[in-house]
């Protein structure tokens, strides 16, 4: 009865209803839209960070992360192969790497780089390097002394494709090892720092130069789905650790490998919800104000109801029920609008390349595709609904306090 009364009351004055609805719709839409942009940015940042040689999970020798040298490498290749073959599910990719600090030099320049020995075909499925070639070619399985360098590296070293590059590093016996490579391909990356930092050679060549035999520095694993909370990675890490059952090997998730990224994701999620609160307060003033005015306009009506014997509590319930319907309606339309606007810009993405250098430094992607999270929708909807109902109690109590005489005297 109360519900029906409330529903009919809303549509008695469609103009007033539409005015309040509009405020709710705009508020909800803005929350969804902003949330989608932020989440899109986060997802893209995480994807970039993962493709930058991190992956979802990595396996190292226990001491490697603190002290990334060839001595701290993993020797038991067969065992790792076997464990990974059994434990990883469908769609997951993994690859081996040798990764070590080295000095690159040619006739004109010398500088520190990270030498990465890769398995070309497997690596291409996991990190950015497979799709980052801008000139020359990618590594092939039979390659011997071929090397890939970054675009910015070419400029610093004043060199080009086909030229020689000497790499020096300490081998497993702590002797200086060096080997000449020939540049066959040039890659581009999200940041110049990455282009200058990494050089890629075939895994077997790196291992040979450093006298590592069958040992490798790291295994990088990419799981098929992106999980921003890192839950699936944590589960997988536990499973792998149990399967390897050897504490000289250490399995770590991207959350452990990229603590900054984890902290950033947590902070930006928190900040989004704070902003939801701020937007709600801005919207709340409008809701209270318009509802109050509507109540005063209907003073006669409330007086009449009370004269007919309606109790104050029933009046409060009635007004709150009206607010509830309005909020639910506004939230639904706001959601639909949010979906439509996000879908419209998601098709082409938002181009941020104007701010390229800033994007590099802050790890923010050059192109942004908004993403809607169910969690954000629920939070936005709940914030608006719960707080909206709460603030509508104030006008409702006002309405319940009208005495029949006072109310019916009006006009």
């Amino acid at each position: 009865m109360l519900v029906r009364l409330a529903w009919r009351n809303i549509w008695r004055n469609p103009r007033r209803t539409l005015v309040i609805l509009l405020a709710v719709i705009i508020g909800v839409w803005s929350m969804i839209f902003l949330g989608a942009i932020l989440r899109g940015m986060e997802a893209e940042m995480l994807r970039n960070a993962m493709s930058n040689l991190t992956g979802s999970l990595q396996i190292h020798h226990r001491a490697y992360r603190d002290d990334p040298v060839v001595e701290n490498s993993m020797a038991d290749r067969d065992k790792l192969d076997r464990v990974l073959g059994i434990s990883l599910g469908q769609g997951a990719h993994w690859t081996r790497r040798v990764r070590v600090m080295a000095v690159a030099s040619n006739a004109r320049h010398s500088g520190g780089v990270t030498l990465v020995g890769i398995e070309p075909e497997k690596e291409a499925r996991i990190s950015f390097i497979g799709s980052a070639m801008t000139a020359g070619r990618y590594l092939e399985s039979g390659d011997k002394n071929q090397i890939l360098v970054g675009r910015a590296f070419l400029a610093t070293f004043n060199t080009k494709i086909g030229h020689k590059l000497i790499l020096m590093s300490q081998d497993i016996h702590k002797e200086m090892a060096s080997k000449a490579f020939r540049i066959v391909g040039v890659f581009s990356a999200e940041s110049e720092a990455v282009e200058k930092q990494f050089v890629f050679v075939p895994l077997s060549q790196a291992a040979g130069m450093l006298k590592m035999g069958e040992s490798i520095s790291e295994i990088s694993i990419l799981l098929p789905d992106l999980d921003m909370t890192g839950t699936q990675e944590t589960h997988m890490a536990l499973k792998l650790t149990a399967a390897i059952a050897d504490d000289t090997y250490c399995v770590e998730t991207w959350q452990q490998l990229l603590p900054m990224m984890k902290a950033y994701l947590e902070m930006s999620g928190f900040f989004l919800y704070v902003w939801y609160g701020v937007v709600f307060v801005a919207m709340g003033f409008g809701i209270v104000n318009t509802t109050l005015m509507a109540i005063f306009e209907r003073m006669r009506e409330f007086g009449l109801m009370k004269a007919l014997g309606m109790r104050p509590l029933q009046v409060v319930k009635g007004v709150v029920a009206e607010a509830f319907f309005l909020l639910v309606l506004g939230i639904s339309v706001g959601n639909i609008l949010g979906f439509l606007s996000v879908a419209a810009i998601a098709r082409n993405g938002i181009d941020l390349s104007v701010l390229a250098a800033g994007a590099q430094m802050w790890g923010i992607p050059r192109k942004l595709y908004p993403e809607i999270w169910v969690q954000d929708l629920v939070v936005a909807g709940l914030v608006v609904l719960v707080l909206g109902v709460l603030v509508s109690v104030y006008p409702a109590v006002k309405a319940a306090r009208f005495t029949p005489t006072q109310a019916m005297m009006k006009n």
Binding site: V19, I20, D67, G112, F270
Partner: protein, 412 residues
């Protein structure tokens, strides 16, 4: 006009509750904008000043092309002469010389390629925070020619500690081999990974000997009195250096040239901030638009009466506009005052956001953030709020012109 103003002012306070809520909405939006903008500007200034103090300085004098190529031979030939010119420029707090080279650094067990930076220990202490970043051991003194400061992670990787020796092997300015044995006197930890892992610092004179630099240096690092003075000081230095033939191949760069990433990062953050503010302002504008519109509906009868006694619709529209402007102004002033007080409070005490320490550490910022109130941060947001609410009050005011006195008076 004064008559309308008086009527408008009285009309506003005929319904104090509604007016109060409308003003609160405007005040809230203004307050948030004042605080958030001040907070952002404060963070930027902290970021700039910390980055600048850890390494780059507000301004640098370098040989042209050194910024891009970092070649050993791109030197400032006569740094002392440039220094005498700098002494005549007002607004410079301190300056110092530096030289950089690449070398292999080996301990007993390990070898790494690093950047070796030659610093003048006394001058450097006035310019950068390096002295306070030395966590173990001590900072360099004037006659420490073959002593070195090393980053904590690099020391760990090289497996060296205080008073251990490391061997340098690199290439001098003239292409000769540069080799030396340095004793580690201090271990620093700036929090910035790139610096802590890749840099060894030593005395400038020792550096000049080892790398055959003679009296030349690569960079003159300058700290201005205040961040706001930087562009003026830069121009003054350019003026001082121009016209002297031997100086035409020198470049005067500011922190934006040296750290383009920092500037663009700030711009990017500002842009995303502005998007959020625009969304907030739109929501507030709708709140206010609704209130105005409802108020007009409510007062239909009153307008009908006024029309019937001969008030022209345009005059009533003006009246309503003045009412809305008055309300907005009161809200904005209240918002600016409360927002400024709030900002000033946190400017004194700082804001601590849990979980951000690691991120801040990367930029060398301590764990508290300080907003900074300025004329721009206090006025820009509220001004936009004023404009938007003004526009959103035009439509309801125009509605009045369509009223018909007879119908309007019959309106309940």
């Amino acid at each position: 006009m004064s008559m309308e103003l008086k009527m408008a002012w009285r009309n506003i306070w005929r319904n104090p509750r509604r007016t109060g809520l409308t003003i609160s909405a405007v005040a809230f939006a203004s307050l948030i904008l004042v605080f958030m903008l001040s907070f952002q500007f404060g963070c930027y200034e902290t970021m700039i000043n910390t980055s600048v103090k850890i390494s780059t300085g507000h301004l640098q004098v370098q040989a042209k092309g050194y910024l891009e190529d970092k070649k050993m031979r791109q030197v400032i030939r006569d740094p002392d002469q440039v220094a005498t010119r700098l002494d005549t420029v007002k607004g410079i707090d301190a300056y110092t010389f530096r030289a950089n080279g690449f070398a292999l650094v080996s301990s007993d067990q390990r070898t790494y390629g690093v950047v070796v930076t030659g610093i003048d220990p006394l001058g450097e202490a006035h310019v950068s925070t390096i002295q306070s970043l030395v966590r173990t051991g001590r900072y360099l003194t004037a006659n420490d020619a073959y002593a070195a400061l090393i980053g904590a992670p690099l020391a760990k990787n090289l497996k060296v500690d205080i008073n251990d020796e490391v061997t340098l092997l690199g290439q001098g300015r003239d292409g000769s081999i540069a080799a030396a044995v340095l004793t580690i006197k201090g271990i620093f930890d700036s929090g910035m990974d790139a610096m802590d892992r890749n840099v060894i610092m030593m005395d400038l004179q020792g550096f000049q000997d080892i790398f055959s630099m003679g009296k030349t240096v690569h960079e003159i690092i300058i700290i201005a009195d205040a961040l706001g003075d930087v562009s003026r000081v830069q121009q003054d230095i350019r003026d001082q250096l121009s016209g002297k033939r031997e100086d035409t191949d020198l470049a005067v760069l500011d922190w934006m040239d040296i750290l383009p990433g920092l500037l663009q990062g700030i711009q990017m953050d500002l842009v995303s901030g502005i998007i959020m503010y625009i969304i907030l302002i739109i929501v507030v504008a709708f709140s206010i638009f609704n209130t105005f519109l409802m108020a007009i509906f409510e007062r239909t009868r009153e307008f009908g009466v006024m029309m019937a006694i001969g008030t022209r619709p345009s005059r009533m529209a003006t009246l309503v506009m003045i009412e809305s402007v008055c309300m907005t102004l009161v809200g904005i002033v209240a918002g600016i005052i409360i927002g400024s007080l709030l900002t000033l409070y946190f400017q004194q005490h700082g804001i601590y956001i849990a979980g951000t320490e690691d991120i801040l550490k990367q930029y060398g910022i301590p764990d508290r953030l300080y907003p900074r109130l300025s004329l721009i941060s206090a006025s820009a947001g509220p001004l936009v709020v004023f404009l938007i609410t003004f526009v959103s009050s035009v439509f309801p005011a125009l509605k009045i012109r369509k009223l018909n006195p007879v119908e309007a008076m019959n309106h309940v």
